[in-house]
C-alpha cells in the first residue's frame, strides 16, 4: 500500500516535469492520506489556482495557513486571487501576513503599501513606505517611488504643506525629474493654478501606481 510520502513524491515529480493534471490528482490522493500536509495543500492550491478554480485554491491555502500562518507560497496567490476578485481587504490581510513573515521582501511590502492606499488606510500605507525607505534603498533604483508614495498620502490627507516639503525633498533624490508633476500639483493646491499645465489628480495617482508596479517587477524578475 502506498504511503502519503510516496504519493507526494509522485505528485512533486509530475509537478517538476510540468504534468500538472497528474500532479493535481496525486496531491488530492496524498491529502487523503495526509490531510494536514501544509506543502501538499499549498501545491494543490497553486495547481487549482492555475486551473482557474479560485475557490478550491483559497480553501487549500486557508487550510495551509491555519497550520503555517506565514507560508509565502500560500499568501502570495491569495493576494492575487483576492485582488482579482476586488476583495482588497482580504488581499491586504494576506499581504500584511506575508510582509510580517518576510520583512525584507520588498514585493510584499510594496503590496501592503499599494493595497492600503487603495483602501485609504493611509497610516498603514505610510508605515509600509517608510519601511521600504529603510531597506529598499539600492542606489541603482532610478525612481524614488517610496518618497512619491509618502507624497501621495499627504495629498490624500490634504496636508499640503507637508506634501510640499516631501515633494521638495524628493526632487533632490530624483534625477529623472519624475517629481516635477507632483510638485507642480501640490504647488497648485497651495498657491492656486498657475500657467504651467499640471496633470489632474487621477492622472498623477495613475502614474504613481504604474511606477510602483514597475518597481515591483524589478524585484519580482530576479530569482533568489
Amino acid at each position: 500500500m502506498e504511503t502519503g510520502e510516496q504519493v507526494l513524491e509522485e505528485a512533486r515529480a509530475s509537478l517538476e516535469e510540468g504534468d500538472l493534471d497528474h500532479a493535481r490528482d496525486a496531491f488530492r490522493r496524498a491529502l487523503e492520506l495526509r490531510p494536514d500536509d501544509v506543502s501538499a495543500l499549498v501545491d494543490l492550491g497553486q495547481l487549482l489556482h492555475a486551473a482557474g478554480d479560485s475557490d478550491g485554491a483559497l480553501s487549500c491555502f486557508e487550510r495551509a495557513l491555519a497550520r503555517d500562518p506565514g507560508n509565502a507560497d500560500a499568501l502570495r496567490p491569495m493576494i492575487d486571487i483576492n485582488r482579482r476578485r476586488h476583495r482588497s481587504d482580504d488581499a491586504l490581510v494576506a499581504a500584511r501576513a506575508l510582509a510580517d513573515a518576510r520583512p525584507a521582501d520588498a514585493v510584499a511590502v510594496i503590496d501592503v503599501a499599494d493595497l492600503a492606499l487603495e483602501l485609504d488606510r493611509l497610516d498603514e500605507a505610510e508605515a509600509a513606505f517608510r519601511r521600504l525607505l529603510e531597506f529598499d534603498d539600492d542606489p541603482e533604483h532610478e525612481v524614488p517611488y517610496a518618497n512619491h508614495g509618502l507624497i501621495e498620502i499627504e495629498i490624500r490627507r490634504e496636508r499640503w504643506r507637508r506634501a510640499l516639503d516631501l515633494a521638495v525633498d524628493s526632487t533632490r533624490l530624483d534625477r529623472l525629474g519624475r517629481t516635477t508633476d507632483l510638485l507642480a500639483f501640490v504647488l497648485g493646491q497651495v498657491f492656486g493654478a498657475g500657467d504651467r499645465p499640471t496633470p489632474a489628480r487621477p492622472a498623477i495617482e495613475q502614474a504613481l501606481a504604474a511606477s510602483r508596479l514597475e518597481h515591483r517587477r524589478l524585484h519580482a524578475g530576479t530569482l533568489g
Binding site: T3, G4, E5, R12, L15, E16, E17, G18, L33, R34, P35, D36, D37, V38, S39, A40, V42, D43, Q46, H49, A50, R67, D68, G70, N71, A72, D73, R76, P77, D80, A101, R102, D137, D138, P139, E140, E142, V143, R175, L176, G177, R178, R216, R217, A220, G221, T222, L223, G224
Partner: protein, 570 residues
Amino acid sequence: MAEVAAAPRAEEVQWTKCPSCDAFVYHKRLRRNLGVCPECNYHFRLPVRQRLEQLLDDGSLQDRSAELEPLDVLGFADSKPYAQRLADAQRKTGSREGVIFGTATIDEHPLVVAAMDFAFIGGSVGSAGGEAITQAAELALERRAPLLVICASGGQRMQEGCVSLMQMAKTSQAIARLREEGILVVCLLTDPTYGGVSASFATLGDVLVAEPNSYIGFAGPKVIEQTIRQQLPAGFQTAEFLLDHGMLDLVEPRENLQQVLRKLLELHGLGPASADGLPETDGQELISDPEALPKRAAWDVVQLARNLERPNTLEYIGYVFDDFQELYGDRLFDEDAAIVGGVGRLGELAVVVVGHHKGHTTSEMMERNFGMPNPEGYRKAMRLMQHAASFGMPLVTFVDTPGAYPGLGAEERGQSIAIAESIMKMARLPVPIVTIVTGEGGSGGALALAVGDRVLMLENTYYSVISPEGCSTILFKDAAQAPRAAEALRMTAPDLLRLGIMDGVVPEPEGGAQTDPPTAAANIKAAIVTCLRDLLSVPRKELLERRYDRFRKFGAPGRQPTLPPLGESQ
C-alpha cells in the same frame, strides 16, 4: 489513518510568480527550465552561481576571485557608508564582490570565465569588479584560452568615483590585447547590461550574445525619455532591438546558450588553418578551359542566374559547411539581411563565410532587399572579414546580387565608402580568400565581396560592370536591347575565363543549379577545397603579393587578354 506532517519553514519558497504572465511556477520546474517561465518564456534574472552551473561543465570552475576585495578609496557615504553597503551586499550574496572569475570548461573546451552578479549592488563595477574582469583577461592571454564574460550590470559604481570610471579603460585595454592576439572573447549580455559596462568590456567581444528580452544600453530608457521628452518605442533597448540595429551577433534563448558557446569554442579551437584539415570531396572538378563550357546565349544565362529557384547562400552554406554559426550585425547601425555570414567548419578547418542572400519568395526577397546590400551589409561583411583575419581563418565569399542598394539612406550612410573599404579590406586580408559567383555578379556591389585569391563562378551565372538592362538603356538607348547588351558585355563564364577575371568555373547540373542543389553544392565544395589546398601552403606575404598581382594585371598593357569582336571566331 492520517499521517502526521511537519510544517515546512516559512522561508522555503516553492512557487515563484512570473512578473510577465503572473503565473505561479513551481520552483523546481522553473529551475529545471533554467529559470525561464514555462508559460510565457520570460527569462528570470539568475543568481550568478546558478548561471555558471547552467553553462559550465559540472565542477569545472576553479574560482580565482576569492582574494578580490573592493576598495573604499573615497571613504564614501550616502545614506549609509559605502563600507556598510559593501558588507550588506557581501552578506546578501555570499560573495566578496560582484564578479566571479576563474578557469572552467564547457563540453571539455577550456576557457576563462568572468561572471557578474546583479544582486551585488546592481552589478555595478568598481575597483574589484574591474580587477576581476582584467585578471580574467590577463589569465586568458597567459593561457591563450578563450574568455567568456557574462554581463549583468547597471554600470560603474558611483561610490568609487573616478576610480570606477577608470575600470572602463582598464578592462577595455585588457580585452584589446586578447583581440590583438586572436584569442576569442565572447560576451554574454544578460538583463540588464547598462552604462559603463555596456560601454566597455561587455560590447568589445569578438562575439556578442544576448538573452531574449534583456535590456541593454548606455543611458537608461527613463533618462532618455526625460531628456528628449518623448515616449520611447515598445521594445526599445531590448536585445531584439539591438540585434535589429546590428549591435549584437546573436540573441539566444537560455536553453540554447551552452550549445552556442560550445560551438563557438569548438570552431575557434580547431587550431591553425592547414590543408591537412580539408575534407575529401566528390564534386566535379573546376573548369578552366573556356572551350569546355557549353555555349549559351548570354541572355539565357542571365535568366538562369536570376532564376528564383536557384539555391541561395545559406542553402549552399548548409550543404558545404558543418556547424555553421551565423553572426549578425555591423555593430554600427543595422543588421542587413542582404548579406549573411558567420563561421563554419570545412572538414577540420574553421572558415569564415560571407555572402549576398536573396531568398526565393516575394516575402523572403523583400526581407533580404532582393540581395541588394546597404552600407551596413558591407560593414557587417568587413567585420566578419576582420574576424577571419584575427583568427587566421580562410574566407569564402558567395556573390549573388543585382547590385548595391541604390537608396537615399544608403547614400546618406556612405554606400560608396562602404564598398570601397570592403574592396580594400579584402585586398589586404592576410588569409586565403575564395570567391564564388553563384547568381548575379552585379557590379561594385558584387566586387565588394569578390576580391579573392581565387575567383570562381558557377556555370550559369554572370558578372558585369552593369546590368544588361542598364547598359542597354544607357548605351543602346533602348531597354529592349538588353539581350544584345548582355552579349556585348561578355559577362558569362567563357568570356570571363578568357579575360582572366575568373580563375575557374564550377559546373552546374543539367538545366542549372536549381534542378539539383546538392550536386551544385558538392561541386562548389570541391572547388573551394581545391583552391584552399593550394592557397593554405602559401606564406602570408606571398599570398598578399599574388593577390595584388592578380588584380594589378587587369587592364595593364601587355598583360590583359583581349577578346575578338562578337561574331568572330574565339
